[in-house]
């Protein structure tokens, strides 16, 4: 290849131009997302719910526990006025004259926060135990694996039902530090400490039964990542286990856990609303998405699903 011309600088720049224009990761993701109609709709709905729950106190026309058992105030249809105060019941009232809109908005706040905290905790526990099992292997791994096997072989809903029935009805059975209770009271706008205790107990139970999925995922990830060259490199440079785990392993093993977190959020929400609906989780007068349903008279008079 004797013919070697002077490198035409200009042309080379031109050649790279289409590549330079190439999208950043963020742009690609953003564009794909915008084009995904379902995702956009979901985002919008989620946004509305989030804003409403943050502004629960401000936008609700009634007190959270307001009720009016006079028959003129019960089962009102949407957009009717309160016979007592004249304020608007946007979504009507339920069997004990509570304002459904107020309940719905507070319920959003309580249910979402509960799910969020339960999922965050279980992801945290799962990540830590999964990482330890995957990184250190040996006996620790075997023990953690057995525990994971144990929990994942449980029939989830019956166990949840029994645990919550026992522990939530008497929250004193689990000692919970006062600052946690204060925190929950503040974030969920609870007046009473007892309400916060019930939620705290429920969060702990959901965590206890929810961490195994993340732990298993994380363990698998860590087992892969720890064999990669950069981990070997870090080890060769004399980094200790803690540094390797926090700097190299966890960041590289973590992405699938984020997906698991979002799925876990849905699972926690479903579990909490289900339990509350069955009457063993969070209970009236605290509203959650399990017990704020606008059930008409026809249903309330027959079954016992009206709370």
């Amino acid at each position: 290849m004797a013919i070697t011309a002077i490198k035409p600088q200009k042309e080379n720049e031109q050649a790279r131009k289409p590549l330079a224009r190439a999208d950043t990761q963020f742009n690609i993701v953003a564009r794909r997302f915008r084009r995904h109609r379902l995702a956009m709709v979901s985002l919008l709905v989620l946004g509305v719910i989030l804003v409403a729950s943050i502004l629960a106190k401000q936008i609700s026309p009634f007190e959270r526990d307001y009720l009016n058992v006079e028959s003129a105030a019960k089962f009102l249809p949407p957009l009717s006025r309160s016979p007592e105060t004249g304020a608007m019941h946007w979504l009507g009232t339920n069997q004990i004259g509570q304002d459904l809109f107020t309940r719905l908005v507070y319920a959003a706040r309580i249910s979402l926060t509960t799910a969020m905290l339960a999922t965050t905790l279980s992801t945290l526990v799962g990540t830590i135990l999964g990482t330890l099992a995957g990184y250190f292997r040996g006996i620790l791994d075997s023990v953690i694996q057995r525990v994971i096997d144990f929990f994942s072989n449980l029939p989830q809903l019956p166990i949840l039902l029994i645990l919550t029935a026992v522990l939530v009805t008497d929250p004193r059975l689990i000692p919970i530090p006062t600052f946690v209770i204060k925190f929950l009271q503040a974030i969920m706008l609870f007046d009473q400490e007892r309400e916060a205790r019930v939620v705290a107990a429920l969060i702990l139970i959901l965590t206890l039964l929810g961490w195994t999925g993340v732990a298993r995922l994380m363990r698998g990830q860590v087992l892969q990542v720890r064999e990669r060259d950069f981990v070997e490199g870090a080890r060769a440079l004399g980094a200790n286990s803690l540094a390797i785990i926090t700097r190299h392993i966890v960041p590289n093993a973590f992405p699938p856990v984020i997906v698991a977190f979002t799925l876990g959020l849905a699972a926690s929400l479903t579990a909490e609303t289900g339990l509350s609906f069955l009457g063993v989780g969070i209970q009236n007068p605290v509203p959650t998405w399990g017990i704020c349903w606008p059930l008409p008279r026809a249903i309330c008079s027959s079954g016992r699903i009206c709370h």
Binding site: M1, I3, T4, A5, I6, K7, P8, E11, N12, Q14, A15, R16, P18, L19, R32, R35
Partner: protein, 336 residues
């Protein structure tokens, strides 16, 4: 289009496959990718045609187009694929299934993933015989063992009962070859058949293919990015770049006397035994984005040879594929 006729004229009678003006495009979210953009080529009976190029140049898509196996979002938009006198793009799918695996077979790059993990090897081979020759279970099994023996698999009776995960990559490629040759096809398309294999196994597989070709007279369309493989196997070579053919010649001519700057670059990037060089030449830059290829010569942005006034022409006008020397075609303005 006239160029194809010219190139093929002398060989018209014994043409096995002729591709005319083939265009295959992929309709992605980001736009239309012209993966194959007007390819003309032919394969004579019993001949081995090598198709060379970097990954992404359209050589695999060309071969899948011949099989009509380009899957969504890809689509063949233009051109003719004439196989033994019939245009494959005009016949119904049902007719096409009678040709696939029977008269045209194909082997692929990753032999281990190309075999279905849940079926026994013998059954996967006899399936071809069952489709095309209506061979029953027992007869198919017997023939499958013969084929396994033919491709040099030790104790074929036992191996026929094995599952794909129980054999090595080299053996898997032998199985693929046995499967491809089961119905004695007239054309075998081999898409990077040795790329995923160890070097020693590569040589064995190439030997096997050459031996079988001599025995059966099957024409081979060999797709590879490995010029060594081409030199060893091919009679004639087509060089592809960015969805188009840039050079075509018989194998000796091409290696001795490449015309296109891209081919020159490719040949410069391989080490030659006995020649001491400071460093191997590298073609600068990247394969152009086929979403909107350069308006002129596709190789122009990376070209280090073309200079001066000629270069300006390169930037605006894509050169046609022309017969620069007898039997030696190139897509370049260099020899004007």
């Amino acid at each position: 289009m006239s160029s194809t006729n010219g190139r093929a004229r002398d060989a018209k009678s014994d043409l096995m496959l002729e591709i005319k003006g083939l265009k295959t495009q992929f309709y992605t979210e980001d736009g239309v990718i012209k993966a194959v953009d007007g390819v003309d080529l032919y394969v004579k009976r019993g001949e081995t045609l090598g198709i060379v190029g970097e990954s992404g140049c359209g050589k695999s898509v060309t071969s899948l187009s011949v099989m009509r196996l380009v899957s969504a979002p890809g689509k063949i938009t233009e051109g003719k694929i004439i196989f033994d006198g019939t245009d494959l793009l005009k016949i119904p799918e049902k007719e096409m299934t009678k040709i696939r695996g029977n008269r045209i077979s194909m082997i692929f790059q990753q032999p281990t993933t190309c075999l279905n993990p849940v079926f026994k090897i013998g059954d996967q081979i006899s399936e071809v015989l069952n489709i095309h020759q209506s061979l029953g279970k027992e007869a198919g099994q017997k023939r499958a063992i013969e084929l396994l023996r033919m491709v040099g698999i030790p104790s074929p009776e036992k191996r026929a009962q094995a599952y794909p995960h129980e054999i090595s990559g080299g053996q898997a490629q032998r199985v693929m070859i046995a499967m491809a040759l089961a119905c004695a096809p007239e054309l075998l398309i081999a898409d990077e058949p040795t790329t995923a294999l160890d070097v020693t196994i590569q040589a064995q597989i190439l030997d096997l293919m050459r031996g079988l070709k001599e025995k059966t007279g099957t024409a081979i369309m060999l797709i590879t990015h490995d010029l060594g493989v081409v030199a060893e196997m091919a009679d004639r070579v087509v060089v592809m770049y960015a969805g188009q053919i840039v050079e075509e010649a018989d194998v000796r001519t091409l290696f001795a006397h490449p015309l296109h700057p891209y081919t020159k670059g490719l040949l410069g990037s391989i080490p030659v035994l006995g020649v001491v060089r400071d460093r191997l030449d590298v073609i600068p830059g990247f394969v152009p984005n086929l979403l909107n290829p350069p308006p002129g010569c596709r190789f122009e942005p990376r070209c280090e040879i073309c200079v001066g006034a000629a270069r300006e022409r390169c930037q605006v006008e894509n050169p046609p594929l022309r017969e620069v020397e007898p039997g030696h075609w190139a897509r370049t303005w260099l020899y004007d």
